[in-house]
């Protein structure tokens, strides 16, 4: 089955981000194809490369980055959600005169059109952290 995920929840705030990660791993292990992982609203915080986690907690940001790299997942961060929450790539940091880029490079920043495209090309789209 071809599956896409929409993640609304920030890591460490809602369970949804971690559940999505576990779901994604399980789906891949079961042989399903992940078409896209779309991070929306507070979900974009999962793509923040500047997050620092306490040593005795699972670093969800690192876990997502590692999963995306290992499986070459198409991980897309909603641009409108990301800009508002300070998840910027180098181009945007420069354009808006902000002091740092923060997005994990394994993620792309794009628009809701990528979410619609995921709906059109997936058998299932599963939402997390609503």
């Amino acid at each position: 089955m071809i599956i896409s995920l929409v993640i609304h929840g920030a890591p460490g705030t809602t369970q949804g981000a971690q559940t999505a990660l576990t779901f994604c791993r399980a789906a891949l292990a079961a042989g399903h194809r992940i078409y896209r992982v779309f991070f929306y609203e507070d979900g974009v915080h999962n793509a923040n490369a500047l997050s620092v986690w306490p040593q005795d907690e699972q670093d969800l940001n690192a876990a997502w980055a590692s999963l995306v790299r290992e499986h070459e997942l198409d991980a897309v961060v909603c641009v409108a959600s990301a800009l508002k929450r300070g998840v910027l790539n180098a181009d945007e940091a420069s354009r808006y005169e902000k002091p740092a880029a923060s997005v994990e490079p394994a993620f792309d920043i794009s628009g809701l059109g990528q979410w619609v495209d995921a709906c059109l090309n997936s058998d299932r789209v599963v939402s997390f952290g609503v």
Partner: protein
Amino acid sequence: MKTLTFLARSAPYGSSKAKALLDMVLSAAVFEQKIQYIFLDDGVYQLLAGQDPSSLAAKNVSAALPALELYGVDQVFLDLASLQARGLSTDQLLIPVTTCNAADISKMLAASDMVFSL
């Protein structure tokens, strides 16, 4: 073409959920998908006419609702029980909607390819 159903269940202010779902609806409409937009629970407050959130320094989330028709979104539904439970009536609404009940919503969900609820 796919049938995408959107359940608007949150009040227009107090969280960004109403705006986030509306943005999804409008994006899907641009791609010319079949859309069912259903307002229920606290989501019925999004349909009220005369909203003035200026004291919240917030934009009027519902200002875009009259444009839905221009986007080709003409399947807009309201759960009548949710409206009545909040002491509201259909003559207080900003846009024309089709009233429905829980059984109608079940049928619409069953006929959908994808469902998004915020």
